[in-house]
């Protein structure tokens, strides 16, 4: 699709997410509000971009799992919890708030797509 037919939005406008922790590893689900948006997430929310987003927190590796029937993506991010719930000095030792950090990523969607806010 040509560039002029696209607009930039935040992931928060088209998807929701929840973070869970195990040791020093976080998993964050990313679930589109509309199944039609799943392809956009698949194309644009790559392991590389997510690793970059969490690099300030020490993330060393990101694996993305695809669940086409839900549809949803599941990101598993290593070493992102500053030691995890038993030793992190971060106020949020579980990394519960990280789901909404993921939702700050920007993505391009067709201008015709109805969403609440654009950036």
């Amino acid at each position: 699709m040509a560039q002029e037919h696209m607009k930039k939005v935040r992931l928060h406008d088209i998807a929701h997410a929840r973070a869970g922790d195990k040791g020093n590893r976080s998993n964050i689900s990313l679930i589109p509000y509309s199944a039609a948006t799943y392809e956009i997430l698949l194309e644009q929310v790559t392991e590389k971009r997510v690793l970059e987003l969490f690099s300030n927190k020490g993330a060393s590796k990101v694996v993305r799992y695809e669940l086409p029937n839900l549809p949803a993506l599941n990101f598993v991010i290593d070493d992102v919890l500053e030691g995890g719930v038993n030793s992190a000095l971060n106020l949020d030792q579980h990394g519960k708030t990280l789901s909404f950090l993921l939702l700050t990523l920007s993505v391009e969607v067709p201008v015709t797509m109805a969403i609440k806010n654009t950036v």
């Binding site: 928060h12 929701h16 997410a17 929840r18 869970g20 922790d21 195990k22 040791g23 020093n24 590893r25 998993n27 689900s29 679930i31 509000y33 300030n56 927190k57 020490g58 694996v63 799992y65 669940l67 029937n69 839900l70 949803a72 599941n74 598993v76 500053e82 719930v85 038993n86 030793s87 000095l89 971060n90 106020l91 949020d92 708030t97 990280l98 950090l101 609440k116």
Partner: protein, 458 residues
């Protein structure tokens, strides 16, 4: 006779959960036909180590500290209407928990209530401390000479099913997998065999969806304007309806707030899951990669497509060791030029902490700019996006085994009252006794769960 549907409700999703959430769940279950169960999941990874510490101080303690708050409001109703209760209330002392429940049952007039205890999760009964210390951990952490405070294996559904088959009204477990609290009753009712992987997978998925209580019914979900949830203050806790063919409906307690939608179920389905094809439990390896969710009525979602693979030959155990101390201290700066005063305060703290000459890690935050989303070594001067005027709170955090050093770092924050920048206020501090945990895998043949009834002891 094998029932057509088993109803299982959840009354608590973690050790600090709402103590009144189970009441509407019990009232709803009481009206249902067929077998009905109420589970409470109250045992996080670290909770057991804390419980073990309590038990050492007082041998009658060491079970869930909120046990009575959870049990008292619903026990009589459950007993009179045939709702069986299954919980990991036991923590480090399942027998102690069972005795407490028995005492409450007596007070409420629940005569001849049968309370079962599942034991065998305590790894220190079958392995020496030394062997545990030398065992490789999944995380790669060396336990070394650190004292093992607690080591517990995640038991599966079988002993829970056995306790129920022997007539238990209440089953108290120490450590078991969270989904086993739900799978145990299903195995008992439907007689699912140990290698019926697809059915065991569905039951495990039902347990996974229920184990965090309101997290599947609109709690931990609301995002105003994006994901609105009705009457969140009165969120209803979940009920699973499971049929013998493995079909599963998630719904919630009657006359409550919250909601069950495809969205709430999807969020909880993936909660704390890594590889969706390989979620390891004691009973089965669950594969949710092909799962579908479908709204089939108001607050009713059908979940289908779970697959299962042969259970692992090992069981996971959590080992808890002493983790030293964590110190945290905070101070607020507000009004004109508050951000600059907050940053000056951090400069002063950094200079003063240098003189303490410790290798312990120290972290600084300015709450109101970036904190929870920042890394440990974030530059707290990189705040150009934020106004100088505002309402900011600085925080220092450190940890280490030397309590005095940790306390001294906190003290530096306190001293800012008289010796820091202008108008710092609202000092608070915490000093926390830390527990470190590591996971090890144990040959499942070494672990022999045992079911006792409280009456066996008298």
């Amino acid at each position: 006779m094998v029932p057509s549907v088993v109803n299982i409700g959840c009354g608590a999703g973690f050790s600090g959960d709402r103590v009144d959430a189970a009441i509407p769940v019990a009232e709803t279950l009481a009206k249902r036909e067929g077998p009905k169960y109420l589970i409470f999941e109250t045992l996080a990874e670290r909770t057991l180590a804390l419980a073990q510490k309590h038990r050492r101080k007082d041998p009658t303690h060491g079970y869930s500290p909120f046990l009575e708050d959870y049990i008292r409001p619903i026990l009589k109703k459950c007993y009179e209407t045939g709702i069986k209760i299954v919980s990991n209330f036991g923590a480090a002392n399942p027998k102690g928990a069972a005795m407490k429940i028995s005492e409450i049952a007596d007070q409420l007039g629940c005569k001849n209530i049968k309370i079962a205890i599942v034991e065998g999760d305590d790894l220190l009964q079958v392995m020496s401390s030394r062997d545990i210390q030398n065992h490789p951990t999944i995380e790669g952490l060396e336990i070394g000479d650190n004292e093992v405070i607690a080591a517990n294996v995640y038991l599966g559904a079988r002993p829970i099913a056995e306790a129920l088959s022997r007539g238990a009204d209440v089953v108290v477990v120490g450590r078991c997998t969270d989904p086993a609290l739900v799978l145990g009753p299903l195995v008992k009712e439907f007689g699912w065999s140990e290698d019926d992987w697809i059915k065991l997978a569905t039951g495990t998925m039902a347990g996974h969806l229920l184990e965090c209580g309101g997290q599947v019914t609109g709690a931990y979900f609301a995002d105003p304007g994006y994901k609105d949830v009705p009457d969140l203050a009165n969120v209803g806790f979940p009920i699973a309806e499971v049929a013998n063919d493995g079909s599963l409906i998630i719904t919630k307690a009657d006359n409550t707030g919250g909601l069950v939608s495809a969205q709430t179920v999807k969020e909880q389905l993936l909660y704390e899951i890594h590889d969706p094809e390989n979620y390891f439990t004691a009973d089965v390896i669950l594969d949710i990669s092909k799962v579908r969710v479908l709204e089939v009525g108001p607050d009713r979602v059908k979940v289908s497509g779970a697959h299962g693979k042969q259970r692992p030959d090992t069981l996971k155990a959590t080992v808890s060791i002493d983790g030293g101390w964590m110190g945290e201290a905070e101070m607020s700066y507000a009004g004109p030029n508050a951000l600059k005063r907050a940053q000056l305060a951090i400069d002063v703290l950094k200079r003063r902490c240098r003189d303490i000459k410790t290798n312990n890690p120290i972290r600084f935050d300015i709450v109101g700019t970036m904190s929870v989303h920042s890394g440990d070594n974030e530059d707290t001067t990189n705040t150009h996006k934020y106004p100088d005027d505002g309402d900011y709170r600085i925080r220092i955090a450190t940890c280490g085994h030397d309590k005095e050093i940790v306390e001294r770092v906190n003290q530096e924050m306190l001293s800012l009252y008289c010796s820091g920048p202008a108008a710092g206020g609202g000092f608070r501090q915490h000093l926390t006794d830390q527990v470190q945990t590591a996971s090890i895998l144990v040959d499942r043949n070494k672990i022999v769960p045992k079911v006792h009834f409280l009456t066996d002891y008298t």
